[in-house]
């Protein structure tokens, strides 16, 4: 990971010097640079054959929708996927890094990755950054020990649950889960419930919106259903197109080439070896 070489302590560990400086600057009145937050609804549930993960696709930068169709369900291993809420850069970087570590681990052991391995790698990384890596994750997968679903908070604590929601739309989605979840759902029932929970987040939370992504993981198989539902299509698109009349007139176009500045030094010294 990139560490600032000048201020890194002699032994490992994170240097919090810059965090102190940032807080000091904020107190002095500096506006912190805005970063892309996902302001999300992400959910997961365990059904009879495995795990289903769901996410919305809106990425926000303050009050603006920065990406109308971003991917929040990240690949960790062929049998493990992870939904990410929080700062988009943090969730992508941390899932990418752990996915890489899991791949090397698979080579060394010759075995399929386990969900608890991904869980432990993620939580120890997040804990060592003391919550400054703003990634709230829903991790789900199926391995030799069965289907697993976990939530991971930015400070590094984890929960193991049969159904979970995270992000700004988590309350709206949890309302759906709490009323309709039961053990032993079939695949279609599970997907329908996940889509319903995400839609609840999309329609009732400002930070979530656009489309529904679903990922179904079962033993030996995973289906990544990108844009499973599109409940927010553009309803009216003008066929004539738009014409914006020119309000300014171009009076004169003049191109002045820059003169080449070449100095000729007579009898200069040869370059020293």
């Amino acid at each position: 990971m990139s560490r600032f070489e000048e201020s890194a302590p002699a032994r490992g560990g994170f240097s919090f010097d810059l965090c102190k400086r940032n807080e000091m600057l904020v107190q002095k009145g500096l506006k912190p640079s805005s970063y892309l937050k996902t302001g999300t609804t992400i959910v997961g549930l365990v059904f009879q054959d495995g795990v289903i993960l769901g996410a919305d696709t809106r990425a926000t930068e303050g009050p603006i929708v920065a990406d109308k169709n971003c991917e929040k369900i990240h690949y960790m291993a062929p049998n493990i996927y992870c939904c990410g809420a929080g700062t988009a850069a943090d969730t992508e970087a941390v899932t990418d890094m752990v996915s890489s570590q899991l791949k090397l681990h698979r080579f060394h052991t010759g075995r399929e990755s386990r969900v608890v391995t991904a869980l432990t790698l993620l939580k120890s990384h997040l804990f060592s950054y003391q919550g400054h890596v703003s990634a709230a994750l829903v991790l789900g997968g199926v391995d030799v020990t069965g289907p697993h679903l976990h939530t991971i908070y930015p400070h590094g604590s984890t929960d193991t649950l049969p159904f979970a929601t995270m992000g700004s739309g988590s309350l709206a989605a949890m309302a759906i889960f709490e009323s309709k979840y039961r053990e032993g759902l079939t695949r279609d029932e599970g997907v329908k419930l996940v889509a319903e929970a995400i839609c609840s987040g999309i329609f009732n939370d400002l930070g979530s919106g656009s489309n529904v992504d679903v990922c179904v993981i079962t033993k030996g198989k995973r289906e990544y259903l990108r844009n499973y539902m599109l409940p927010n299509p553009r309803t009216y698109v003008s066929e004539k197109g738009y014409s914006f009349s020119k309000k300014t007139e171009v009076l004169l176009t003049k191109i002045t080439p820059l003169r080449e500045l070449v100095e000729v030094i007579e009898g200069g010294d040869a370059m020293e070896e």
Partner: protein
């Protein structure tokens, strides 16, 4: 590695301009079990003898041919533990390359980085050169490729090569048998016949190992029963 009593390099030049330690490393390779590789028109095959020190050793637990990435495999001749270190480093380098460029590492790049590691161990303090030569087989956008990496860190691309014991016989056999238009199955048969040339005892699916990569770009180590099938075809 700088502040110990061994901060000088143990590999030093002889008056004749040779690095004696590397010569000795090559001798260690030359007394290792035979391994060879053949590049076909549509894939690469690498093979090695798997002679175990005793019949009591569980041969299923030993695997000499290793996968570095899904489309690159490697076999060695020489000291097994040294090859383990190199395989581990190479896998990590391949993964770091992927993390940085989001592209599977090209075969030449991985070979070059592995060779760099091997060279570093001939010019650093307190370490000895690796006692292995590697044969790296891969298939990427440039097609099938076969590279040999020596303890000195030099690497060459080969159409067919052999290393370890019996290398001169094996190489002359390959020179006679190799054709540019050879396909992967023919290459596997040729590899088996070459191994058979210098083999002491009865060759079987349990005492040789074969790894192949074809157009599908997935490196695979053949199971003992698959090796037996090829052995019977080659008879």
């Amino acid at each position: 590695m700088g502040d110990s009593q061994y901060s000088f390099s143990l590999t030093t030049f002889s008056p004749s301009g040779k690095l004696v330690q590397i010569e000795h490393a090559l001798t260690a390779v030359g007394s290792g079990q035979t391994s060879l590789g053949i590049k076909a028109s549509n894939g690469v095959v690498i093979a090695t003898e798997k002679k175990l020190p005793s019949i009591l050793v569980d041969e299923a637990s030993v695997q000499k041919i290793q996968t570095l990435t899904p489309n690159i495999g490697v076999v060695y001749s020489g000291m097994g533990p040294d090859s383990r270190v190199l395989v581990r480093k190479s896998r990590k380098q391949a993964e770091q390359y992927y993390r940085l460029y989001k592209e599977p590492i090209p075969v030449t790049q991985l070979v070059r980085e592995t060779a760099t590691v091997m060279q570093e161990f001939t010019q650093s303090g307190g370490v000895r050169p690796f006692g292995v030569s590697l044969l790296v087989a891969g298939y990427d956008d440039k097609g099938p490729q076969l590279y040999q990496v020596d303890p000195s860190g030099s690497y060459f691309s080969w159409k067919a090569s052999a290393m370890g014991k019996n290398v001169s016989n094996a190489k002359s056999f390959l020179e006679k048998r190799y054709t540019e238009e050879m396909e992967l199955d023919d290459a596997v048969h040729t590899a088996i016949l070459t191994l058979k040339e210098g083999f002491e005892g009865q060759i079987s699916g349990k005492n040789i190992e074969i790894g192949v990569i074809g157009n599908d770009r997935i490196f695979k180590v053949l199971s003992p029963s698959e090796v037996e099938d090829y052995l019977q075809e080659a008879e």
